[in-house]
């Protein structure tokens, strides 16, 4: 079973919400779609569900044309950002609603609904109205309603974004266990948080301005982002980028800072490059002087916002240390962890994935 999108275009008064998107989703696959707001993630889900008609392109499920099938004839389930439930129905009636519409007898619908409610931990809330529940519980009801149908395609549009920080963490764990059980459905989950996308997804899709700019195994994409844009989206805080060049045997950054060429960049011809370095791949006590713009301590880590001739960058330091704003700090760039991008932003060389 496979859901195939080919050259899907959706434009609304000349803003490209989906720009020539081609994707293949396989049964049992858990796909996470990562991208900033307005990257086209929600439009992608709405196109699959049939809520939005693409101007161009084909959409087929197991070869059957899905494009012209109306929403209510597609075996699709969806969870919205804003925990959408039917206000006038009890929690149990909410979850049984799709089964009743599919002609399942009342008794069996009630049983299956109770089963799924138990799975999401709302077993003893079935007589309540959704409005009487907390945000997290309302979202669980919406999830239960999506799961009870055992639909071929399960779509989740940033389901945790409106919840408290700690609740998000907890529900993410629950989602992971629940999705493991959906091995005969296609699950598509959109998010703006890289950690969530990498943790939940078997396959990761990065979208920006309506286009799919990279897809692949989450760790592979993390370790080898195709472009600077992908690298910025996949890292939080974003990857540091330094303009520079490779000349006479060394990496030259602005402010005549020289770095030794690491083995994985040795084969690169001389020329100008954009060098990328993750915030956790810089450390204190190096040779490059820089000014502290801001230092933020978060429990076990210190986040230093620094500026120097080579440009402004962020450094993640394990452990906690105080730095007054404006003081200077010596920084070391770990050249073995440097990414090399072409001036246009395409990845040329990535550091080896270390198995220490």
């Amino acid at each position: 079973m496979a859901l195939i999108l080919e050259h899907i275009d959706i434009r609304v008064d000349d803003i490209a919400f989906l720009d020539d998107v081609s994707l293949t989703f396989k049964r049992g696959g858990l796909y996470t779609v990562l991208g900033r707001t307005l990257a086209g993630k929600t439009t992608l889900l709405r196109a699959i569900a049939g809520l939005q008609q693409p101007q161009k392109g084909t959409l087929t499920l197991n070869g059957k044309d899905y494009l012209h099938l109306p929403v209510w004839k597609r075996r699709v389930a969806m969870v919205y950002q804003q925990f959408i439930n039917y206000p006038h129905l009890t929690v149990l009636a909410n979850v049984a609603f799709p089964l009743r519409r599919a002609g399942v007898p009342a008794e069996e619908a009630k049983r299956r609904a109770m089963e799924v409610l138990d799975m999401v931990g709302l077993a003893d809330f079935e007589t309540r109205r959704p409005s009487a529940l907390s945000g997290g519980q309302q979202q669980r009801v919406a999830l239960a309603r999506a799961l009870v149908k055992r639909a071929e395609i399960l779509l989740l549009d940033e389901p945790l974004v409106n919840l408290d920080y700690k609740l998000r963490e907890q529900l993410r764990e629950e989602f992971q266990n629940i999705f493991e059980g959906q091995d005969d459905a296609i699950v598509v989950y959109t998010t703006t948080e890289p950690a969530e996308a990498i943790q939940l997804g078997h396959e990761l899709i990065i979208m920006d301005k309506g286009a799919v700019i990279q897809k692949g195994k989450p760790l592979a994409v993390f370790n080898a982002p195709a472009t600077i844009r992908c690298a910025k989206i996949i890292n939080d805080p974003p990857i540091n980028i330094f303009d520079g060049a490779i000349e006479n045997g060394a990496i030259q950054l602005q402010g005549s800072v020289l770095l030794p060429i690491p083995p994985h960049l040795a084969h690169l011809p001389q020329g100008t490059y954009c060098f990328g370095l993750r915030t956790s791949d810089l450390s204190l006590g190096g040779v490059i002087g820089s000014k502290v713009e801001l230092s933020e301590i978060s429990g076990s880590q210190t986040i230093l916002h620094l500026s120097a001739d080579i440009g402004a960058f962020i450094l993640f330091e394990d452990g906690v240390s105080q730095h007054a704003i404006g003081s200077t700090v010596q920084v070391n760039l770990d050249s073995d962890r440097i990414y090399a991008f072409s001036p246009r932003g395409d990845l040329i060389a990535a550091p080896a994935i270390t198995e220490n």
Binding site: A49, L51, P70, V71, W72, V76, A77, M78, Y80, Q82, I84, N85, Y86, P87, H88, F97, P98, R101, A102, R145, K149
Partner: protein
């Protein structure tokens, strides 16, 4: 300063309340008067300033020569208003849901233009429609009949119903009906099973507006009926032009105004809550 503000505040409220109550109280006392209570100048308190009598009220139900028989017009008014309101609310709610959820395009005419067309009927002064309706009903042979009036009142109330319901549906998040579609309802199913059960507040406000504008209309009833059918407002105004004594005039006025005033007390909760603001934006 605080206490002065409070005194002024309650004084203003008292002043306006008495201004509001004046016509009702005056009509009430007058309805129990007899001629000497009226001709000698304004009198207010029964037994002290005048001898009250039930004459004003009795004449209302007496049929034949001397009586005014307010009952028949009361019933016709009720029939016309309720049926026109029902038809307008049904058609209006459907049209409003369509306008709020779908995008219609007839040539260059878009949704907002169609909604404006509905609302623009309210801009149409009644007199402009009086002549065409007169000629239309004459042509259809419905002049001076209840069905004729119902037809005209639907034209009067449908724009109101649609206006209130469009604004109500625009405040219901579209994701709810989308969720119903995804769960297997076709658009009509989504409307009936999910939207309607949640639209009670909007329907209440819309229905109330229709009944209010229908029951209180004088002009169309006046121009399009003669002898056979007579609605309440027309009947009362007819008394006014003839030399009817003030007491039966006041009594008949109070009777025809009473139903909606009672409804006002019952439904105040809906009117002053958010729906009204919604109904206007």
């Amino acid at each position: 300063m605080k206490s002065l503000y409070l005194v002024l505040k309650y004084l203003a409220i008292l002043l306006w309340s008495s201004f509001v109550a004046l016509p009702f109280l005056w009509a009430l006392t007058t309805s129990f008067k007899t001629s000497n209570g009226v001709t000698g100048g304004a009198t207010y308190i029964p037994w002290l300033q005048y001898e009250p009598s039930l004459e004003g009220w009795k004449v209302l139900v007496r049929t034949g020569g001397q009586g005014i028989n307010i009952v028949a017009p009361f019933i016709s008014s009720a029939i016309v208003t309720l049926s026109a309101s029902l038809i307008s609310m049904v058609l209006g709610t459907l049209a409003a849901y369509g306008l709020s959820r779908f995008s219609y395009r007839l040539g260059f005419v878009k949704n907002s233009d169609i909604t404006f067309f509905f609302i623009a009927q309210r801009i149409m002064p009644p007199i402009v429609l009086a002549i065409p309706f007169f000629l239309m009903l004459q042509f259809l042979g419905l002049l001076d009949t209840i069905p004729g009036l119902i037809l005209v009142y639907v034209a009067l109330l449908l724009p109101i119903a649609t206006w209130v319901m469009v604004d109500f549906f625009n405040n219901v998040p579209p994701q709810i009906d989308e969720m119903a579609l995804i769960d297997g309802c076709n658009p009509i199913g989504a409307f009936v099973r999910v939207i309607l059960p949640n639209s009670l507040p909007g329907i209440m406000v819309g229905g109330l507006f229709c009944v209010m504008f229908g029951w209180n209309d004088f002009f169309f009833a006046f121009t399009l009926t003669f002898t056979k059918t007579q609605l309440l407002p027309v009947a009362v105004v007819a008394l006014n032009s003839s030399v009817t004594p003030w007491w039966s005039l006041s009594a008949s006025a109070l009777v025809s105004v009473a139903p909606l005033v009672i409804i006002a007390f019952v439904v105040e909760r809906f009117l002053s809550s958010g729906n009204m603001a919604g109904a206007i934006r």
